[in-house]
Structure formats: structure tokens, C-alpha cells
Amino acid sequence: MSGDHPLLVAQGISKHFGGVAALDDVSLEVRPGEVHCIAGENGSGKSTLIKIISGVVTPDAGVIEVGCETYRHLTPRQAIGAGIEVIFQDFSLFPNLTVAENIAVSSLIAHGRRTVRPPELRRIARAVIERIGVDLDLDARVEDLSVADRQLTAICRALAQDARIIFMDEPTTALTWREVRALFQIVASLRESGVALVFVSHKIEEVLRISQRITVLRNGKVVVSGEAAEFDRPALIRAMTGRMLSERRPSDTNWREMPPILEVQGLGLGGYFEGVTFDVRPGEVLGVTGLLGSGRTEIAEALFGVRPADTGTVRVNGQPVVVNSVRDAVRAGFGYVPADRLSEGLFLDQSIARNVIAGSLDLLVGRLNLLRQSVADRVAQTTLTDLRVKMSSSRAPVRSLSGGNQQRVVLAKWLARSPRILILNSPTVGVDVGSKHEILEMLRAKSREGMGIIVISDDVPELLEVCHRVLVVRRGRIVAELTGDGLTEKTILDELAA
């Protein structure tokens, strides 16, 4: 490997949207065989940079050198021709086509082909799959694949096009730790063949774990760029956020004395989980973790009535409750912040205020089912102020907010009706580091006020920061309860991988 001659050099890239500088004099250098990580909070300009390099967005200033050519701006076709491939967060696959078709079709287009012969498709696909040594069913439809296999398919498609630099946008968001580890192995084998990988991520652990070099963006500027060995966790956090964040652990223990607010006994749902028993006390934040597909989300969705459990009992404040629908759960005092904020949590084009009251309509109507508009407005305004949502007006659509503020709106929807138990699934995915800590702080405050809080997450530092107790779910069963000194990063990871 010639580590000296870079594959790609971007110099002095600037881009303005309206009056705002998304990128300001940003430079980036990618060398063959390296894993380069672009780290930064949401809104730091990472996505814009990828879009410019892949030719989707035209920069205002700067040049890009790929191979021997220098471009003022690239077209998507030129980018692909130069071996630049981007794997977006949604993978951009065709759910209705087979794995082989998905892998091979782009290269057929690139070669200007008019006809498609199935044997040829399979040959192209098989060659790539063998090259990185993964196991994929060529004839399976992508819609039937797991998220990890879809990602592999997307990587294979990039390689089928002779990619020399693969950009991956937040590649581990939807993956479990085990799948992430498998991905890292593939990444390592790709490096050896001289392919460069550029990860775009805001997850500090993975940034430190796999990259050789790190470029940190903040507010559209490169803050620092250098060998990964030069960074440690606090340094990286400081570079990304511009401030120090203390890594606190929750220490208050008065919750131990209180009677449980939620008691779950022998909860089960055929095919998903069984014998789930636990309780939550007021003032406590309970963590639930497990791999994707372990049943952690299903347990939460059963409690919330999305997919009701078929065995077991649930008691709230000592009273048995029957949850057969979301409405039952809401009436019993549950609130649920779902994992997929955009599709499950928000009405993007509706106003912020309307999003906040969406979960409390039953409380906000008077005679003749008439909406009490003034009460509704007041409730929305108070909750939004409490949660410090930054917005121009509560009548603006939620779409106009940043990820962190959108998540606060989902939280506001439930806090508006003061639930007894609030369940949060991956509450800080896609939320910038600053907002993340504010949201976690808010959860701690609510639990001190007596709300029972359950956080489902595979973000280990987040669990450590906010939870008093963590349950580990494996194959639909609770296999461990970690608390006190037994609750460390190592114990959680050990239990997850066991």
C-alpha cells in the first residue's frame, strides 16, 4: 500500500444555504487503505460534505482532486466514475428485487447495458460476496433480509462498482453490537485491498474503535484532524461539542424504599419473549438492553399495547391493568417514545403544538367532543417551555426543528399528560451530544418527581449515565439484572455477547 499518495483531496470547500454557512473552508484527505472517520454532532456539516463529494450538492468554493483529475464540482456520474460510493443511512436498496439484482444493477447501468441476463447478475454478485467473504442468499428479496444483511448488500453493491472510497453515513445506527463487530471485520479486510473507508458518525465509541484517522467537524469547520491514536474519549467529546461533559453516574438511592409503580409478572408473547418479570420504583430509571431482535423492543411495545402480550400480568401502583391496545396503555398511565422518531413519533408537517397535544386529545375535549383550544394551547406552551424546545413558534411544523428538538417534542407529547410510566426506546439516536445530555438530565429530573422511567437502549455509555439498574434481554428472556457496582460497561457488554 502506498500510504502517501492520497485517493481524494478536498480543499477549501465552502457551502452556504441561505445566509448560513453549512461548510466553511473545509479540507479533507483520504488515503488508500485507511479508515477515516468524519465525526461531529448533528448539524456540524458532515452530511453536506458527503453530498458534495458524491456530487449531489455543488459547493460554492473549493476543489476536489480524485485520481489525477481536479474538479470544481463533481456530478454524481463523475463521482461514481472516480470510484466514490456513498452508502446512505437508508441503504437505497430495492426491497422488491433480489440481492443479486441489487448488487449488480448499478454496474450494469454504469456500463451502459441494455439487457439483463440473470446468470451474469449472479456472477457479478457472487464475485463481490466472495471477495469480502460474507454469506448472503443471492436469490432472497431484500425486503426479507435483516438490517445487517441489507447493509452488507449495500456494501457489496458499492464494491461491484469498483469503489475505491466508500462513504458510510452513520453505518451503525440500526445495527446491534455483534453486527457492528462483523462490519468492522469486513472493513478491516477491505482496507487490506486498498479500498478507503470514510465513516461519518457521531458515536464516539465506534469512531475511536475503528478509525486510523479522525477529522472532527463543528459548525461547518474542521476543528481538528489527525491520527486516531492522538485522541481519547474526553478529547474527542471536547472537539465535537466544544465543551467538557462530566461523565456522571446517577447516585440517588432513595427510590429503593418506595413501593413499585410498575410490576410486570411473567409477561410473554408467542415467538418474541416469555417470562418477563420486573418492577420499576418511583424515582428510578430502569435500563433495558439487548441485541436487535432480542425482544427488547417487543417487550416495550407489548407494555404499550402496540403488540399486546398474551400471557402475564401488569400492575400499575398495585392495581392490575389490562392492556390490549395503545389506548388501554395510555389510559393506564403509560407513555412511549418510539425508536423511529420520524415515522412513529411525529406528524412532521403538522404544527409543534398539535404534535404535543396529539397524545392527550381525550383530556382536552369538553361537551360535544369539542376541543378546548385555549386549554390545549396552554398545555402545549407550558410543556414546550419546560422542555426548552428551541422554535420560532409553536405553530411552525415539526419538520423545521433539529433532531434534538424533534425528540423533545415527542417527549413533550407524553409529558403533557403526565404519565405514571414513561418508556423510551433509543431516546438519543440521531440527537446531538449537547441535546442528548439535556434530555437524559430531564429524564433524571422526572424520575425524581416520581415518574417511573424505562430506557431501552444499546448505547452503553448512555445506560451508564442515566440508569440505576439495567436489565439485559437475550432471546426473549431477561438474563441479567445489573445494579450498583455490578453495573459497568464491561458487565453489560459481557452479558450482551454471552
Binding site: 441503504f91 430495492f94 422488491n96 448499478s106 447501468i109 439487457t115 439483463v116 453493491r157 431482535g293 432471546r475
Partner: protein
């Protein structure tokens, strides 16, 4: 695990059903034929075959137009308007100018040219203005029909240019059993068209592109498919197919009536949906569609044979469509549920 044998059985069942419902349709056709045959023995005759063939030969071509659009994720309700516009215009034009007097070929070519032009109108509304397809084609349907009735003619025309006149009486088979039943030679081009569309969808990049757009248009763009150009092409093809089918219809009935066809869209849409095409795009096959067309032709013919009034045919097709889409919706819900279980099992393994 206890689920393994049942999973294997499910797989076998789904293979029997065919990827696009073909198995179910074959069974439905067989059951229908048996029942009607028991009630009315005259069903078992060559005449039935020829009747169903006569009815299917134009509807199959219409269905190809609808199928292509539906696979790409749209729904077209303007195809009948395009068909009758093209067919009727060719007759009017032929009678007025003597163009295409001796050659049915030329008549069809003119019809196709008209179909391409009208398809371009759809393409403009959908690919350029990005209107929702149902609403756009409802609009173009009205425009196309309005232009025909306002500017081309409103009379029913019995006189044809000689070329088309002779094509209309060129039969492949004639069955003289009781009353003469005939099958027009146009069944041959109809079959050829279906085969060509099938090959196009399966083995060309354009065809795969249509499936890709139906699966995920944004991904198709990122993968390098020229999405807008493909969309234009889709509606051009649909226009040409609809015009061909309309010309076939006008030729077969030997009476050019501008008030015909429009309003009968559902027979064809139902056939395509029964044939396994998904209105959300990305799914569908020519074989399923053709079976759907045959099933509906068979039902219509059987009802006539059994002496049921025509109004019931309309109700029957409506009911059939509802049964078809309900079954599809239910099996989709079932598949979704199975998918998550399988995933959970994999994770547990």
C-alpha cells in the same frame, strides 16, 4: 425447532401459489370451469374457448399497459380513453382521407402514433409536473375523451376502410357448431405483445428499472437509473399499448362507437390486480395478468351462458376485485408478521 417443518410447508405452499398469484388463479379458473360446466354442459365446447379468446385478446393488451404503469408504482385510468380515441380517430381519418385504406398495418401505425402522443400527455403530467397518478390520469382521461367527442366526432361509424374491414373478418379459427363462433387472427399479435412485454420487464434494463422505480424511486435515482426518462417511457409505452388495444377493439366490433370502452376500466384493472400486481409498485407479472384477464373473461362469458343479466357482470367484477385485494392485503399482513418472527428466530439462533 417446531417451526421448521411448518416453515418448509409454507415455502412449498407459497411456491405453489406462484410469486404473483398464478397458482391461485389457475385453481380459480379450474373451479369456475368445473362449476359452470356442471350447471351448463354447453360450456364444454370450442365456442367457449373462442369467446374467451376474443374477449381476452384486446383486454390482455390493455392489461399490459396497466401492468407496466402499476409495476412502476402508479395507477392509470386513462388507458380506455386513449384506446377509443386512437381507434375511433383512425376510422374517422381513414374514411375522410383514404389514408390507410388498403393496409390495416398503416391503420395500426397511426393508432400507435396517436397513443404515443396521448401517452406523452400523461408523461408530462406525471413525470414532469409530478402529479399523483390516479388524479393525473383521471384528468387526462377527461381531456382525451372530451377532445374526441368535441372535435373528432360523436357518430357511430359502421363503414371501415377496406384494409381494416378485411382484417376484422380474418379469422384464425371458426367453430360452426350451433352458431358460428370465430376467433380473430389478432389473437396472434396479442400473444406476441404479451411475450414481448414479459421479456422487456424481465430481461432489459428498462424493465428492471420499472421494477426498481416501483420498489423505491429515490434508490433508483441513486443507483443511476434515469428515473424521469424512464417514467416518460413508461407512459409512452402504456399509451402505445392502449392505442393498439383500442384499435383491436374497434376492428373486432366493426362499429366505431366513441362512447364505448371508457367506464370499463375496472375489468382490466381488476385483472391486473388479481394477477398479483401491487398498487404500491414493484410487483407484478405478465403471466399473472394474462390469467387475470382470462378469469374475468371467463366469468363474464359464464354469466351470459347462465342467463344472468348484464348488470350482474359489473357487480361480479367489483366483488372479484374486492376479494382479490382483500386476500392480498391479508396475506401481506401475514407475511409481515412472519418476517419479524423469522428475524427474531435468527437472532436467537
Amino acid at each position: 425447532m417446531s417451526t421448521v417443518p411448518s416453515a418448509a410447508r409454507r415455502l412449498r405452499i407459497s411456491r405453489l401459489r406462484g410469486s404473483n398469484n398464478e397458482g391461485v388463479l389457475v385453481v380459480a379458473i379450474a373451479v369456475l370451469a368445473t362449476v359452470v360446466g356442471l350447471v351448463s354442459p354447453s360450456f364444454w365446447s370450442v365456442a367457449t374457448l373462442l369467446n374467451v379468446g376474443t374477449n381476452s385478446l384486446e383486454n390482455a393488451v390493455f392489461a399490459m399497459a396497466v401492468l407496466i404503469v402499476m409495476v412502476s408504482g402508479g395507477i392509470d385510468v386513462s388507458f380506455m380513453a386513449i384506446g377509443i380515441f386512437a381507434g375511433y380517430s383512425v376510422i374517422v381519418l381513414g374514411n375522410a382521407t383514404g389514408i390507410a385504406a388498403d393496409s390495416a398495418w398503416l391503420g395500426f401505425m397511426i393508432a400507435i402514433a396517436i397513443g404515443l402522443a396521448l401517452g406523452l400527455l400523461n408523461a408530462f403530467a406525471i413525470a414532469v409536473l409530478r402529479l399523483p397518478t390516479l388524479i393525473a390520469t383521471l384528468g387526462t382521461q377527461t381531456i382525451i375523451r372530451g377532445v374526441m367527442l368535441a372535435f373528432i366526432g360523436r357518430k357511430v361509424i359502421p363503414d371501415y376502410p377496406p384494409g381494416l374491414e378485411s382484417l376484422s373478418t380474418t379469422y384464425l379459427f371458426t367453430d360452426y357448431a350451433a352458431i358460428a363462433t370465430r376467433l380473430n387472427v389478432m389473437i396472434v399479435p396479442s400473444i406476441v405483445i404479451c411475450i414481448v412485454v414479459s421479456l422487456m420487464l424481465r430481461y432489459t434494463l428498462v424493465g428492471r428499472g420499472i421494477f426498481a422505480i416501483g420498489g423505491d424511486a429515490e434508490s433508483a435515482r441513486r443507483a443511476g437509473f434515469p428515473v424521469t426518462r424512464l417514467r416518460v417511457l413508461i407512459y409512452l409505452m402504456a399509451g402505445a399499448l392502449a392505442a393498439t388495444a383500442g384499435m383491436m377493439h374497434v376492428t373486432q366490433v366493426r362499429l366505431a362507437n366513441p362512447y364505448e370502452l371508457v367506464g370499463g376500466e375496472l375489468d382490466v384493472i381488476a385483472a391486473v390486480v388479481l394477477g398479483g400486481a401491487s398498487i404500491f409498485g414493484g410487483k407484478g407479472s405478465v403471466s399473472g395478468t394474462v390469467l387475470g384477464v382470462v378469469l374475468i373473461a371467463l366469468i363474464n362469458y359464464s354469466l351470459i351462458l347462465l342467463g344472468v343479466p348484464g348488470a350482474w357482470q359489473r357487480a361480479a367484477v367489483g366483488a372479484l376485485l374486492l376479494i382479490g385485494v382483500s386476500a392480498q392485503a391479508l396475506s401481506a399482513a401475514g407475511r409481515h408478521r412472519r418476517g419479524t418472527i423469522v428475524q427474531a428466530e435468527e437472532a436467537a439462533a
